[in-house]
């Protein structure tokens, strides 16, 4: 009897499961496999080109690029001025421009102003400088709340900003891409540009963290 009710529960559970999933597309891993093999078959994509794209974002384009820009601005006041007045040209000097990076604006954090970047409508992000965006940046909680409750969002990232600080949120609604220039941390006077670059994090360049020494 107990055996019977157990299998009855299982079948109810399975029916519910099927009902929920009947309407959903199948496993994305299988869909991708089918699409890649179809497109390869039709000559619409070359698998070796996909390999190269994945490899580029896994190892060649990432936040280290943005960190170079920030560290240079910290040690070179002329460069910092150029970066703040025309970031596109200043970043191009370092040969770091590319996808979605053509119209760059650098936003300087100061003791009185804190900048925070979001894309509420999709997931626009300065790809050439920071690589692919992290999952949280693309998620509904961040996209919905960064504009409405930036102080609450920053507290969730461990950053409790004083009342007197102005928070400027930048919603990336066009092809302009924003890079936050964080404050240089105290006690780093002895570090050179390359050493400084190792301190600069992706989150600091989005504006959800400060750089710490």
């Amino acid at each position: 009897m107990s055996q019977h009710s157990h299998s009855h529960d299982d079948s109810v559970e399975m029916a519910r499961h099927h009902h929920i999933h009947a309407d959903l597309p199948p496993d994305p891993a299988l869909r991708v496999k089918a699409l890649e093999s179809l497109l390869t078959d039709k000559g619409l994509v070359d698998p070796a080109t996909i390999d190269a794209w994945v490899e580029t974002y896994e190892s060649r384009i990432g936040p280290r690029n943005g960190a170079k820009v920030v560290a240079k601005a910290w040690v070179d006041p002329d460069y910092k001025q150029r970066l703040l007045s025309d970031a596109t040209t200043a970043i191009a000097e370092l040969d770091l421009l590319g996808s979605q990076g053509q119209h760059m604006v650098a936003l300087e954090n100061t003791p009185g102003i804190h900048n925070l970047v979001v894309c509420t409508l999709c997931s626009c992000y300065p790809l050439p400088l920071l690589g692919l965006p992290p999952t949280w940046y693309k998620s509904a909680p961040y996209r919905s709340r960064a504009v409405l409750d930036p102080r609450g969002v920053l507290r969730e990232f461990g950053l409790d900003l004083p009342e007197h600080v102005k928070i400027r949120v930048w919603d990336s609604t066009a092809e302009v891409r924003y890079l936050v220039l964080p404050e240089r941390p105290a006690g780093t006077e002895h570090l050179n540009e390359a050493q400084l670059a190792t301190l600069v994090t992706r989150n600091a360049m989005i504006g959800v963290a400060k750089v710490t020494a």
Partner: protein
């Protein structure tokens, strides 16, 4: 279009969940999906704005539960289906139909680096002078287009100040729907947080949006 992608200002999605040491792709298929949508052969005239619009056409309930790269997969399928470059039958079988002819002009692996550095640029020189100047007060229009737009609902009808002008840029509302570049002047507009969200917002905070000239009127 007024659908679920326009998330700014909504409640109910819970805490942000950053992952420690997150890698670009959580699973191999994510990288394959990302790569396909970047390096596959696109139909002539395809634009980044069409890409964003197609993502917005994903069913709202699926938009909220599908991962980012699952959505990219949907976009890739839609692009190719709507252009007739693949058929639904071929997609279901994962194989080209026997009648299909194989193309030989897809992007080569050695072109990826240059491709990522030479994307189409959205800036377009404009002969006519910009209508607005820095420091000017403007209001975002109350408009509810059924197609693609980059004016989020939370800013519509709200007043702000022009803080910078970026020259002419391709208008997404046109470009997403095969109506050409239709470039317009693009501005960054600063809105006080209290103008957008009411008295409970912090008096020192502000939100900036990049908005095309036709989205704006003098305030």
């Amino acid at each position: 279009m007024n659908t679920i992608h326009d998330l700014g200002g909504m409640h109910g999605f819970g805490a942000i969940a950053p992952e420690r040491d997150e890698s670009p792709f959580h699973e191999t298929w994510e990288g394959r999906a990302g790569g396909i949508l970047e390096v596959m052969t696109f139909p002539p005239g395809f634009t980044v704005d069409r890409f964003r619009y197609l993502r917005e056409t994903l069913r709202p309930d699926l938009y909220l539960v599908q991962s980012y790269y699952e959505q990219w997969l949907y976009i890739a399928e839609q692009v190719l289906l709507e252009a007739g470059m693949i058929s639904a039958e071929e997609l279901a079988r994962g194989k080209a139909s026997p009648q299909s002819t194989k193309r030989n002009d897809s992007m080569r692996a050695d072109a990826v680096w240059d491709f990522l550095h030479d994307r189409a640029h959205s800036g377009r020189p404009l002969a006519q002078a910009p209508r607005f100047t820095s420091g000017q007060r403007v209001r975002a229009r109350n408009m509810q287009p059924a197609g693609h737009t980059r004016l989020p609902r939370y800013a519509r009808g709200r007043s702000g100040m022009i803080v910078s002008h970026h020259g002419g840029h391709v208008l997404p509302d046109a470009s997403a729907h095969g109506k050409g570049d239709a470039p317009q002047h693009l501005y960054t507009v600063r809105f006080a947080a209290r103008e957008l969200w009411g008295a409970a917002a912090h008096p020192r905070d502000s939100v900036h949006l990049d908005l095309w000239e036709s989205y704006l009127e003098p305030a």
